[in-house]
């Protein structure tokens, strides 16, 4: 059970958060221009990595803010937490 350092509230128990899947997948600006395959790529294709993964998290039972997290899924070490719109501080 993680302790997550919400960029707005500080350290909180994982039970206050919900995970929103892979981060940095931007909604296409002009969906109508996309082929079925391109749209499907945005809609369905998500990575499921053993190792360092970029994820969206929401402080659902707290400030309700969305933010991003870099987590190593092999050992659950959280490497970084940063606000939406910011560049990931680690590669």
């Amino acid at each position: 059970m993680f302790i997550i350092n919400c960029p707005y509230c500080g350290e909180r128990d994982q039970t206050e958060f919900s995970c929103g899947g892979e981060a940095h997948i931007e909604r296409p600006k002009q969906p109508t221009e996309l082929s079925d395959d391109q749209w499907a790529e945005y809609l369905f294709m998500r990575k499921n990595i053993k190792g360092v993964q970029f994820e969206r998290w929401n402080h659902a039972h707290g400030c309700r803010k969305w933010f991003n997290m870099v987590r190593d899924t092999s050992n659950d070490k959280i490497q970084a937490v940063y606000k939406m719109g910011e560049k990931p501080p680690v590669k």
Binding site: M1, I3, T32, W39, L43, N58
Partner: protein
């Protein structure tokens, strides 16, 4: 049979307080401080239960939580009885009533014992192999298998005990109160750290506390004296919390640990009343020190499971701690020095050990010398090959080992015994370390898996024998040394330590000891609880199982309530030996929490009954209760389902309510619908993006129905949104969807469109909604709000007015979910019940009838209005619902738009919403029933299913909504609804059954 085997000299049992208890109906006595196991042994009772598969007689083997056989049923009250309780852990209390498990009619005469003689027919995988064919017989087999499965009996009534949860945060958690745990707790407390020390026993000190031997000295006093002084000194630290009878169940990531504290299980039944039985501690520790110790291994030889065969260290604890002799003719069988300590303890208590069988060639250790000096007989380089005795060991046979240890040589000699102590070395308890994600390394020298401290997942350390340190001087000095860096200490109170202890000089390990008989004729048990033998493991390997996880599941080794604490290492050793693999490479099976079984009570704590989930009630709930409503759970909400009158059943009530709503007037509490207040200069643009239809041109004071999709184009939610001002809207969502819709909207606002100036506020609870529908609704509203012009020109359908009722601000909307002329009043929730009563009074002359969700569903189905979640299931597009009119085709984009013309979503043979009429208008379909065209061609093709179905009193016939493949094109088509005992003929129709011209909206 009942002989007293208690000796009088000891420090730990209060022999002045006698406690009476029952075992299998027999009244017996023990003393305060006893466990059930020690009290039974003192009464010379070894046979406690029958084994799982072969029903072999089994006795107490250990003195702790690793006990595989001594498990009993406590009590016989249908709500309080506790199965599979380890006799070695339960403390004796006045009135304790225990009985044997897995035997019938009694533990002494057990019919199931026949399995023992059939055992050659019951190898590993017996059930998998035997009950495969014929497959159709499985249901018959299953009945019998289920009856023979399981050990104890689960309670049949709900548990009246109270269980508690408590959160705790600390600097340091020390797990285990043995010598290394005590040292750790003291060092941590001395540094001023907020420390918790937990131990599963009723006393601290582990196995050192009863180690009364001159060979073991710390700072010139006996180690047990030294330790008891240290324990005494812990009282001086107010920052140290000590929790006895508390067992660590799980060690999760980020130092989150669960521990179960037993509060009343050791008390007499009378003393327990009104007290909390168990408390589950949820501990978040900055640092964790694991000092969980080690357990002794058994030895694997033929018939090593007979009652009276006990771990040698347990024999020592029974004599030293409880003052109980486990037999009167005791022999020992060992591969290491620790059995010799048992021999010394027994000798001191006046029990002369008959013979010590040692598989080693010799040992020069001081402790062995002491035993030899006592004149005890040691058989070096020998092994026990067989034992005799059914319900208690009577004798055992010994042969010499060959040089390589693979065979036995020479002549057999036979020794009588009523107790045989076995010692196969020690296994560090690394469960907690691995649960937390730690990796193990294998130490070839003494065949143990120990924590790889370089691969520690969190801020933790393992100290003492769970870290593979078995000698007293090693335990003490290494614990202190490791803690100095772990806790960042420079000087400690333990800096000048002088420790004396004997050194173990020779080592030998044989996982499966040889016999003079072929292995097929022997019964070398590995897992004593699940009756799996070394033979079974070898068979599994021969049959091609390679992974240890597969061997475990096939043979069930390590899968009992003890989770293989005694058996796993030997199973691994035998696999490694048989396949010629190094044990370190083989690895272990996964250690999963809990360490010892947890009660369901401890897991759920107070979250039972009404506290299991939140219950949400509307502000008008009390009125509904007073007026006889039956309630339906909608998410967490309690919604009135129907209001039965004069003994009506649901059908009758709904028919009456539905008719009244269309004939005159009906009133519904619609407060549970989600309400989201939307403000900001970009509010209109935001709605354009989240709904399928256009919003920019909606006038202030007007309402509009909206459909919300997921990005995959599937209908997600729907509801009416009203424009309250230039930059102000109020959105309604479905009852069940309210929270998810808000989350979804917030997600888009924060992550995809942060440039939009929009603010969302949930006001579901702040506003209550009363809906009044029917031809007389206008007359009723006119009485309540006389000042308002209700004419269609001033207040048309789909519009809203701000108004006041009795000086309270209200939002009045003319919107309809029933197809009738109707109004919705939104009012601040604390005025809602008053307003409802006012409405009821005003409506009296018009037979204003309160109705619930069932009538609401019926009325909207008559109009073909969908309920998202009932008629939709996340696989239907607006077009599938025949709602193409709501797609804003000219809009540049909205959530899900692109998906509406993917190759899959434009398929013409998708399931589409249709109406259904039964040929027999009285026949009401079952919701969920399948629709087919032809029942004669097999397999029968399923074309769709019924989503909503009612008997409509207003149409006087049965109506239904359904989804059907290519349904849009099939109007007029006949289909069949096959039911269990008949086929129902139906015809596909339009989805609107009532008032197709929408005349009634303005009636």
């Amino acid at each position: 049979m009942s002989r007293n085997l208690r000796i009088n000299k000891n420090n730990f049992i209060d022999q002045t307080t006698r406690i009476s208890f029952k075992f299998n109906g027999q009244k017996l006595f023990g003393y305060k401080g006893d466990t059930l196991a020690s009290a039974l042994l003192a009464n010379n009772i070894h046979l406690v239960g029958r084994s799982f598969k072969y029903h072999r007689p089994r006795g107490i083997m250990t003195c702790g939580s690793e006990e595989p056989n001594g498990i009993v049923q406590i009590g016989n009250d249908p709500s309080l009885t506790d199965p599979n309780v380890r006799a070695t852990e339960i403390e004796l209390y006045e009135g304790l009533d225990a009985s044997s498990q897995n035997c019938w009619p009694s533990v002494n005469f057990d019919i199931g014992g026949i399995n023992n003689f059939l055992s050659p027919l019951l190898p590993a995988g017996f059930y998998y192999k035997t009950f495969m064919w014929p497959a159709s017989f499985w249901e018959k087999y299953e009945y019998f298998i289920r009856h023979s499965a399981g050990l104890g009996k689960a309670p049949t009534k709900s548990d009246p005990d109270i269980y508690d949860h408590q959160y705790s945060h600390c600097d340091v958690l020390v797990v285990g109160g043995g010598i290394s745990g005590i040292i750790s707790a003291k060092l941590s407390a001395e540094k001023g750290l907020d420390t918790i020390l937990i131990d599963d026993k009723s006393f601290l000190g582990g196995s050192t506390i009863y180690q009364e031997n001159e060979c073991y000295k710390i700072n010139s006093v006996n180690s047990n004296k030294w330790l008891s002084n240290e324990i005494e000194s812990l009282k001086n630290y107010p920052n140290l919390l000590i929790k006895n009878r508390t067992s660590l169940a799980a060690f999760h990531g980020y130092n989150y640990l669960l521990a179960r504290e037993n509060l009343t299980d050791h008390l007499s039944i009378n003393e327990r009343k009104g007290k909390i039985r168990q408390r589950l501690w949820k501990i978040r520790a900055k640092k964790v020190i694991i000092a969980s110790g080690s357990i002794e291994r058994p030895l694997i030889f033929s018939n090593n499971d007979r009652p009276g065969i006990i771990l040698s260290s347990s024999i020592k604890k029974y004599i030293d701690y409880y003052g109980v002799k486990t037999g009167e003719n005791i022999s020992l069988f060992t591969n290491n020095d620790s059995a010799y300590e048992t021999a010394i303890s027994l000798n001191k208590s006046g029990v002369k050990v008959n013979v010590i069988v040692d598989i080693r060639k010799n040992s020069e250790s001081k402790i062995v010398k002491e035993v030899l000096d006592l004149g005890l007989k040691v058989l070096w380089e020998s092994t026990v090959i067989e034992t005799q005795g059914y319900k208690r060991i009577k004798s055992f046979e010994v042969m010499k080992l060959s040089d390589d240890g693979n065979n036995v040589v020479g002549n057999k000699s036979k020794y009588n015994a009523d107790c045989l102590g076995i010692s196969g070395g020690w296994t560090p308890m690394v469960h907690l370390f691995t649960q937390s994600g730690g990796k193990l390394k294998f130490r070839n020298d003494d065949n143990v898996f120990i924590p790889d401290q370089d691969k520690t997942p969190s801020n933790q350390i393992s100290v003492g024998s769970c870290n593979g340190e078995f000698k007293l001087d090693e335990i003490v000095t290494k614990t202190i040394e490791n803690l100095k860096s772990f806790l960042d200490l420079s000087k400690t109170c333990y800096d000048e330590m002088k420790i004396n202890c004997p050194d173990e000089k020779s080592k030998r390990n044989i996982w499966l000891l040889p016999s003079d008989k072929p292995i097929g004729k022997t019964k070398p048990f590995l897992d004593f609880q699940n009756d799996s033998t070394a033979k079974d493991v070898k068979l599994a390997l021969r049959e091609g199982f390679k992974s240890i996880e597969h061997v475990k599941r096939y043979t069930t080794t390590g899968m009992g309530t003890d989770q293989g604490k005694l058996s796993n290492m030997h199973a691994l050793g035998i696999i490694a030996d048989t396949t010629g693999t190094n044990m370190g490479k083989l690895g272990t099976t996964t250690f999963r929490p809990p360490y010892t079984p947890l009660t369901f009570g401890a897991i759920v704590g107070r979250n039972v009954g009404e506290f299991f989930d939140h219950t949400r009630k509307t502000a008008i709930h009390n009125w509904h209760v007073k007026n006889n409503a039956e309630f339906e759970n909608v998410g967490q909400w309690k919604r009135p389902w129907y209001f039965p009158k004069n003994g009506e059943n649901m059908y009758q009530a709904v028919q009456r309510e539905s008719k009244a709503a269309r004939d005159s007037a009906g009133i519904l509490d619609a407060s549970t619908l989600g309400k989201i207040d939307i403000q900001g200069t970009d509010a209109s643009e935001f709605l354009n993006r989240v709904y399928t239809n256009a919003w920019s041109k909606l006038e202030i004071g007007k309402c509009r129905y909206g459909l919300m999709l997921n990005e995959d184009g599937m209908v997600y939610d729907d509801g009416v949104t009203t424009r309250l001002g230039e930059n102000h809207y109020i959105m309604t969502t479905t009852t069940g969807g309210a929270a998810n819709v808000l989350s979804k909207l917030e997600d888009y606002l924060q992550t995809e469109w942060p440039e939009l100036d929009v603010y969302l506020t949930t006001v579901t609870d702040q506003y209550s909604t009363i809906s009044i529908c029917g031809p007389n609704s206008k007359n009723i509203i006119a009485k309540i709000v006389p000042s308002l012009d209700l004419s269609d020109s001033n207040f048309p359908h789909m519009s809203f007015k701000n108004t006041k009722i009795s000086n309270v601000n209200c939002r009045l909307m003319r919107i309809s979910f029933t197809g009738e002329h109707s109004y919705e009043i939104n009012i601040q929730s604390n005025y809602a019940e008053d307003l409802w009563i006012k409405c009821m009074e005003a409506g009296k002359e018009f037979n204003l009838t309160p109705y619930g969700t069932e009538t609401m569903h019926l009325l909207r189905a008559e109009k073909g209005f969908i309920i998202t979640g009932q008629d939709t299931d996340g696989t239907l597009t607006p077009s599938d619902l025949q709602m193409d009119w709501i797609i804003g085709k000219k809009k540049f984009d909205f959530i899900g738009k692109r998906s509406l013309y993917r190759s899959d979503t434009i398929r013409e043979d998708r399931k589409q919403l249709v109406g259904l009429l039964t040929d027999d208008p009285k026949e009401v379909l079952e919701e969920g029933a399948q629709l087919v065209e032809n029942i004669n061609t097999k397999p029968v093709e399923m074309l769709g299913h019924v989503t909503s179905s009612y008997f409509s009193p207003n149409l006087n016939k049965s109506i239904a909504l359904a989804v059907v493949k290519s349904g849009k094109k099939l109007k007029g088509k006949k289909l069949i609804v096959p039911m269990e005992n008949k086929n129902i003929n139906v015809t596909i129709t339009d989805t609107v059954f009532y008032d197709k011209e929408n005349k009634r909206l303005n009636a």
